[in-house]
């Protein structure tokens, strides 16, 4: 096949996947993918296919996550975990510049632009959309975040068409998955059900085609392409959650005084977990540090959350002092005002905020409660 042919599909085995990791490492990529740690599937460096969570799956619900064994050797038989790719593209903490007092005045040293190049393995459709949303926010406007831009432009993305929908997934409702529809270099669909364990591979970029050409592979048979489609169809039919989203913008904005906001505020801990696990939430703050003798100072950027009091602090106090106002701000931004601000949804239906909310607050349930109270 030609390197850029995106209509043809190839097939690789797990050995072919190993060859892919090696090909990426030869190109000096830092290969990042799902691994098992501390009772969850998270993202970190992977050395080989052996590091992937083979034969594991997850059980997810509001405020609940548990791992279980599968009865096969699937390498990607689970949904998304607590980490998202923003951990790498927009790190939780990064120094921006430092300054030192010298004999000649103050010398400012900007931190060098990041030079790391990431290869992400197993990026699901929801997360591809989330990356595209962060691109729009962080580098799509007049002021680009140059550090994000460096990391983003250097990244190689191996997408994954989901073989399993998690208990809190609702990408189908948000029209963001479970099939990857672009924004990748290569895309995998894992076939484990019959015969040989293998991956149907699609090509999404010239670079992806070049890498694929180096791997042991063969052309996919038409039944294999059909089997890959069936995997996605099965996932689509088994979404853990649903949320009718087509009119959610207007629904929420005409219900800003709904009593449901008080009800959810009684449960919300304003802990901020939902925002930090969300793959589209992009808010950061800056913090200064200085040393004891006053000769050095530095400024760092850190993930922030609209659930803190400091977030909306202006002269004299916090604008959003109550849990009600903070939860409402978060949810209406995700589902409604994000459209007005950036022209897209701010929610891709990955379900992380539901699973990792310590008290299981569920964005789909909140929308349903408000919708259900309106005369139909």
């Amino acid at each position: 096949m030609s390197p850029t042919d995106s209509t043809q599909h190839a097939v690789v085995t797990p050995e072919g996947l190993q060859a892919l990791f090696e090909a990426l490492k030869r190109r000096n990529y830092r290969v990042i993918g799902p691994i098992l740690r501390d009772g969850a599937i998270i993202f970190d460096d992977i050395a080989s296919v052996g590091d992937l969570p083979k034969g594991w799956t997850d059980e997810q619900d509001g405020g609940h996550y548990r791992l279980h064994r599968r009865d096969d050797g699937a390498l990607f038989g689970y949904a998304v975990g607590p980490h998202s790719w923003k951990k790498f593209l927009l790190p939780a903490t990064q120094r921006l510049w430092s300054a030192e007092r010298t004999e000649h005045g103050v010398a400012i040293t900007p931190e060098p632009r990041p030079s790391e190049r990431f290869a992400f393995i197993g990026v699901r459709a929801c997360d591809l959309n989330a990356i595209a949303i962060q691109d729009r926010v962080l580098i799509g406007g007049a002021q680009a975040d140059l550090r994000y831009q460096s990391r983003r432009q250097g990244a190689f993305i191996v997408a994954l068409n989901c073989g399993v929908a998690g208990g809190t997934c609702f990408c189908a409702s948000m029209h963001t998955g479970p099939k990857a529809s672009g924004g990748y270099d290569l895309v995998l669909t894992e076939l484990v059900d019959d015969g040989e364990h293998r991956f149907v591979v699609g090509v999404g970029s010239e670079g992806g085609g070049t890498v694929l050409a180096e791997l042991p592979h063969r052309s996919a048979a038409s039944e294999e392409v059909a089997a890959a489609e069936a995997v996605v169809a099965h996932t689509l039919a088994n979404m853990g959650r649903a949320m009718y989203s087509d009119d959610v913008h207007d629904l929420l904005l005409r219900n800003l005084d709904h009593p449901r906001w008080d009800e959810v505020a009684a449960r919300c801990l304003t802990c901020g977990n939902c925002t930090l696990v969300c793959p589209t939430c992009f808010c950061t703050t800056v913090e200064e540090s200085s040393d004891l003798d006053g000769s050095r100072t530095a400024r760092s950027q850190r993930w922030d959350s609209c659930f803190t009091m400091d977030f909306s602090y202006i002269h004299g106090g916090s604008v959003r002092a109550t849990a009600r106002s903070r939860y409402r701000q978060w949810m209406t931004h995700k589902l409604a005002t994000w459209w007005d601000q950036f022209g897209t949804t701010g929610c891709v239906g990955c379900g992380r905020c539901i699973t990792w909310c310590p008290v299981g607050i569920d964005i789909t349930e909140e929308v349903a409660a408000i919708r259900g109270s309106e005369p139909s």
Binding site: D38, A40, Y65, C268, G272, N273, L276, M309, V359
Partner: protein
């Protein structure tokens, strides 16, 4: 050329406590030398034999008020201090010794001391801010030395210290920890607890014990309802809030909602 500026005078005061928080200053090792260069350590009984005299630019106050004499002494400390910062759960909330506030201190004394009639003590253990105006509170049992150095550095630079009042969860997520409550079912006070420890316990697979006391706007009733779902009974729901910060308002009120 301006003449060398007078170094700010620092005092460290001890009230009812285990001394752990003031020892944190000695534990700063290399940084302690830099502290000693930057300030004049004018009063610090753990480190020097200096005497109380005059005024201090920065007073660090460790410990709670448990005796009538200390209730008097803190008034004097306040008068001598331009800036007064309390350090640690004893000074900011009353400490573990505030468990007496929920019991009869005479009964405690009778169990502990051979001659309880020699003991002169108040019925309660209270935070310094209960008695005098406090300019700054540094939380923790014990305090974190990085945060202590941050408070001193910020004081010297005339800026606001970076010791945010938000949840432990935010630190946990920045570190990439897997949530012990969601993934393991371990009750964790992180969502209602003030950050500052760099999410120490969850980083070692333990639930947060609340050493830093209540965060800003803590929703303890909601967390307690969730703990009950995880199998924590009513007696233990009371006990989880009654540790080092038992007398911090939101923890005390929540503990009083539960019991045997």
């Amino acid at each position: 050329m301006a003449s060398a500026k007078r170094k700010p005078r620092l005092a460290v005061w001890k009230f009812a406590s285990c001394d752990g928080c003031q020892l944190t200053l000695l534990d700063c090792e290399d940084a302690l030398v830099a502290v000693a260069d930057a300030v004049e350590i004018a009063y610090f009984r753990e480190a020097t034999q200096s005497e109380v005299s005059g005024y201090y630019d920065l007073s660090l106050v460790d410990g709670s008020i448990t005796t009538a004499r200390d209730a008097e002494r803190i008034l004097d400390v306040r008068k001598r201090s331009r800036t007064l910062a309390t350090i640690g759960a004893c000074a900011t909330a009353g400490g573990i010794q505030a468990l007496r506030n929920f019991a009869n201190v005479r009964e405690y004394a009778a169990v502990v001391y051979a001659r309880p009639d020699y003991i002169r003590t108040l019925a309660t253990s209270t935070a310094i801010a209960h008695h005098v105006r406090v300019d700054y509170e540094l939380r923790g049992c014990p305090i974190d030395k990085r945060q202590l150095l941050e408070v001193i550095s910020a004081f010297l630079a005339g800026r606001r210290p970076v010791t945010p009042p938000h949840s432990v969860c935010i630190e946990c997520k920045r570190k990439g920890n897997v949530c012990v409550m969601v993934a393991h079912g371990t009750p964790c006070l992180g969502p209602v607890t003030h950050t500052g420890c760099y999410a120490l316990c969850p980083s070692y697979d333990r639930g947060c014990y609340g050493c830093y006391g209540p965060k800003e706007t803590p929703n303890t009733p909601s967390l307690s309802r969730w703990f009950a779902r995880l199998g924590v009974d009513n007696r233990n729901l009371q006990r989880v809030y009654r540790t080092f910060n038992a007398n911090a308002d939101e923890f005390r009120e929540e503990s009083e909602r539960h019991g045997a």
